[in-house]
Amino acid sequence: MILADFGTSYCKFLDTEGLDKPTITATKELPPRLRVDIATGHNGQRFAKEYVNELIALARGGERLITDDNYVLLDCGSRDIKFIKYAGGRVADMGWNTECGASMGFTIELLARYYDLDYQHIPPPSRTFSVTCGVLGMSNIFDAIIDGTPAAEAVASFVKGIAVNAYRFAGSPARLYLSGGLCANPIFTGSLPCEVIPLGRFVLLEGLLNRNCSAASPSKLRTNSELNG
């Protein structure tokens, strides 16, 4: 059975009867006739026999990976951010922001390419830009660069602003479980003003696995290398 998380920028696939590890493909390189068995992600309905909405996949993935009864799990994608909060083992709150959190992950990646930056080698910024969305927040970067701030520092302040915004969107928890490609961005994870537990970018695939497996069964997808980016 082929499971897939069709993200805006990247798609993650898992063959449950084949390789243990999932594969990643850039969304722009997807073959148009591709078909999978179960999918999530906002592109998923185009390619799948069965579709699971992203919040449900995120929640089910959290149930497999997190042993606490009380937690907040935040997924930061290319296009949107979403979170699920559990209290006493029950769903207590959730959110899905496609407007004010729009294009955060995508913008962070675009900026790195344009300014030729490697987030692994940029020191954490002291300054935080007030950022409500990826597109609107970019003017802060341009203004800072005009004022003489190095591009790397300006972009890092922007990423920090995005992280703080995402943290507030998730309800400002003391501990935050993080899902998505930004788990591998040290500027982003280091800017979240709370304890951060990165779960990697396959949490939604875990959620699809959870449809057919016991929540207590061991994860096939969560590896140390993935968690460490």
Binding site: H42, N53, E54, L55, I56, A59, D80, I84, R90, V91, A92, D93, M94, G95, W96, N97, T98
Partner: protein, 259 residues
């Protein structure tokens, strides 16, 4: 006295009247007795673009009241009865001013203080939520209540608190065992200003607290959702988008409402 304006009985009974909110039963009974065709202007009645209201209302405004203005502009009505009391909303008062100035027909303000309880069997029965809302909103055109015999109560698995949404498609996501609370329950009870009834919710069932974006009831919906142990606060504008529907679906599934 319920009625705001003393001359609400027009010299010639209107053939077609629009209502906004829930005018008092006395007014509805008068219109029913006269054989007047009543149009609920809060509902989507004409296919025209909502942009037709842009000359009169800001684009960032309650979608229900924008719909009221669009309906009033497009339908050939003889009169509009608009409730402006606490049983509707502050903004309806201002919309009544606008309608008075842009329409050439009588626009009659009312304040509904009806207190007689007629019961809420539709809100508590097992039926598709969409059908429940259609039944309740249709009921505002009649001074007599629904025949409760046809609506047996069921055990609720989910709750919907709030006003009838501008976009009814979101109602299709709920199980048939969803009970209705909030102002919609007040509508069925024919007491739209009954604050205690509007504030009531069931803490034992997962409940979506809904209000139209840019409506003052968003504050109440958020407040009550924060008090409820298993709640989702939601507001939606003209149409309910994919992410809002996904939130409802995820909330109901993860709360066990579909089981």
């Amino acid at each position: 006295m319920n009625i705001c304006q003393t001359k609400w009985q027009l010299p010639a009974p209107p053939r077609k009247a629009g209502i906004v909110g829930m005018p008092p039963r006395q007014v509805i009974q008068y219109l029913n007795d006269q054989g007047t065709a009543i149009h609920d202007l809060d509902a989507k009645l004409v296919p025209d673009s909502i942009e037709g209201t842009a000359p009169y209302l800001p684009r960032v405004y309650c979608a229900i009241l924008r719909t009221v203005v669009l309906n009033a502009l497009r339908l050939s009505l003889d009169a509009v009865y608009i409730d402006v009391g606490t049983g509707k909303c502050d903004a309806a008062l201002h919309v009544s001013t606008i309608l008075t100035n842009i329409l050439s027909i009588p626009v009659i303000r009312t304040i509904n203080r009806d207190k007689q309880n007629f019961g809420t069997p539709v809100c508590r029965t097992r039926l598709a939520l969409l059908e429940k809302f259609l039944t309740i909103t249709e009921g505002v055109k009649y001074h007599r209540p629904q025949d409760g015999v046809n609506f047996k109560p069921c055990q609720p698995r989910a709750g919907f608190w709030g006003v009838p949404p501008r976009d009814f498609s979101l109602l299709e996501l709920f199980p048939d065992t969803t009970h209705i609370y909030g102002w919609t329950r007040c509508m069925e009870n024919k007491t739209p200003a009954a604050e205690d009834l509007e504030l009531y919710y069931n803490p034992a069932i997962p409940t979506v607290f809904f209000a139209q974006s840019f409506c003052a009831k968003t504050g109440l919906a958020k407040f009550l959702a924060d008090r409820h142990p298993s709640a989702l606060y939601l507001d939606a504008d003209y149409n309910c988008g994919g992410s809002a529907k996904a939130k409802i679906q995820a909330f109901l599934e993860l709360s066990g409402a579909y089981q």
